[in-house]
Assembly symmetry: C2
Homo-oligomer: 376 residues x 2
């Protein structure tokens, strides 16, 4: 049978002794990022429900909840299971769930936790009511509206109102509000572009809330936002629950977002790395590390090399990363270990069974990535 | 703690009842692919050592060995462990292994299996001798030469001869021959390009063999080849061990390789799929499936839709795949299940814990992907 991969480190070890490739979490940077969002939210009254599709780890969920988060978001029922089984008591699946097997598993969680889910069609409401009714539980439901991302979501306004009414009339469902997430807005590079996109999402949500009110249907929750845009949703006066995920880790792609002055926004610190080993120095100016795209998914671009000027990761194959070394860079030696900044944190985390948590260059602990591979 | 993801199916189930996303292996197509390579090798005397970095599964390894393969290739020590612990008795790590922890684990396997590994430097030979000596085992060693791929590998000729001599003089190491794999040649689109690249690799190997002979150093093994180019290595008169991996599965990228007439080469059948569910049909002409780039890595391009004309997978986000539906295509319904052809088989397999093996639309069995996530 298939065992887990054993952890690549032990507590107390020096970072340089960790076997590779390993997923490293710098706890000081991680906590600085948590502090920053706590400070931004302050006493705004806007709730934080961080997205666990980024971290997939009950340990991190509990740290966020301890600091005041109301619960967690996930995308998949199997992620919800991993968190609830790990003691998280309030989970929103910020996504549509289709299929009787999945709905039965989701409803089962309703016996031991507060469960929410999104819908964007009437047939989903019917199927959800059937599953919740059969399990004898109550599920909170958000109507996902298309807030400009053009992925899932009903049209804001009349269509959304009809679905909300359908939910409100379903005995085992509670209409909780609107999901108005605009995913692609997170990666628009300038603050003006992000602001414009979220202004549109806000209008979509506001319009729908306004149309629901005469029906006697109140929105307890207007949810959305991500790491790239959350200050806009925070200041919108409409959104009251934010679903940031990547802010705890950051990645090479988010680092390309700019601030007002055209400089990298740099609100958050890079806390997530993949430690790799130089496995070959075959020719001058070239080296190969033991972390390719199986270790560092490249959907949002190649990884960056951390704190090693003149060294560039130029090509990823399955198990190899090819490095180019500028003439002025100090030479790489076989066996040298390098920290890489993932191109995209979410799919990178999902490749590992363990966080190797370090502080000031020493391993403080190992945290299991309980929802690793939880795609269903 | 972190359990495995449970299997998404049970034996006997209809394919349409399998939960999604799920990795599907069509056994008829898989066996047709195995038959094809067996027929090509015929009585050529050229050995087959299939690459398990593709399948990561001891069950598949044993099927290949039962048909005459001499053993398996892997890229990582943890992959070798998964196979040896699963009963495979002859494993070559077709790669350099650097670091004392990994070398100790590799040498430990030498007590219970025949183990080979590649080197491309003198320091690697020294470290390998130390590990093998401490464990009291003998390890077979191939010198990897740069056969044109410009990734790892010493220069062919004099440099390679020096490393071979170093191995031959190491008491716990056996010089076994040359690794002359040309990875990027597999994906050159025309037969002429592939033939030219492998002719170069063959020259590199032949030159080195010729220079080793006066030293009294014989090459038992000249290894290389992959699914895209193997007929060239087979006919080279120099290579005697082929390391094909993807031939058992195929993927959307390999399907872009052409034959002499400029048509898709189509030597192999597509046997590997990801089953997905339409989770939202939010607007006419659009649908969203529950398999994004966490389920289908996009390093070699987007997945294709199988047997559903007019439907195109146009964008992958973490957990969503956006589909475009041509006007003439029959409409997609919420809950409909679609088979997707992965862009790249190797990293896709590595996302799953189980193969759901089907024959004529029914689940015949579940095979664990024992080396899933085995990156170290």
């Amino acid at each position: 049978m298939t065992p887990l991969q054993p952890p690549p480190a032990e507590p107390g070890m020096l970072l340089g002794d960790v076997d590779t490739p390993a997923l490293i979490l710098d706890l000081d940077a991680f906590e600085t990022n948590l502090d920053f969002v706590d400070r931004m939210l302050g006493n705004s009254g806007v709730r934080l429900r961080p997205h666990a599709k980024t971290h997939k780890c009950a340990v991190i969920a509990h740290i966020q909840i301890e600091r005041g988060a109301v619960g967690q978001c996930v995308q998949k029922v199997s992620e919800a299971e991993a968190l609830v089984w790990g003691g998280v008591r309030d989970v929103l699946v910020s996504n549509e769930i289709v299929g009787a097997q999945k709905l039965a598993r989701l409803a089962a969680l309703g016996h031991i936790a507060t469960i929410g889910v999104c819908v964007d069609s009437h047939s989903q409401v019917d199927a959800l009511q059937t599953a919740a009714g059969q399990a004898g539980v109550t599920i909170n439901v958000l109507v996902e509206i298309n807030a400009g991302g053009n992925r899932c979501g009903v049209s804001p306004g009349a269509d959304a109102v009809q679905v909300a009414r359908h939910i409100a009339g379903s005995p085992n469902l509670v209409f909780d509000g609107l999901q108005a997430y605009h995913g692609s807005a997170q990666h628009l590079r300038t603050p003006a572009e992000r602001q414009q996109a979220i202004a549109h999402a806000t209008d979509c949500a506001r319009q729908t809330v306004t149309m629901l009110r005469p029906e006697g249907i109140e929105c307890r929750t207007i949810a959305g936002a991500g790491t790239g845009s959350f200050q806009n949703e925070l200041q919108s006066g409409v959104f009251n629950e934010l679903q940031l995920g990547s802010y705890i880790f950051m990645d090479a792609d988010y680092a390309r977002n700019l601030d007002e002055s055209g400089e990298p926004a740099a609100q958050f610190q890079q806390s997530l790395f993949v430690l790799s080993t130089v496995m070959s120095v075959p020719r001058p100016g070239t080296a190969v590390v033991d972390a390719g795209h199986k270790a560092l998914p490249v959907d949002s671009g190649l990884p960056l090399i951390w704190n090693r000027p003149g060294i560039t990761y130029i090509d990823a194959s399955d198990e190899h990363g090819k490095l180019e070394c500028a003439r002025e860079a100090s030479a790489l030696a076989e066996g040298e270990k390098l920290l890489l900044v993932p191109g995209h944190c979410d799919p990178t985390v999902d490749r590992y069974d363990w966080y190797v948590c370090t502080r000031k260059g020493r391993v403080e602990g190992l945290w299991p990535i309980a929802a690793r591979g939880a795609m269903r």
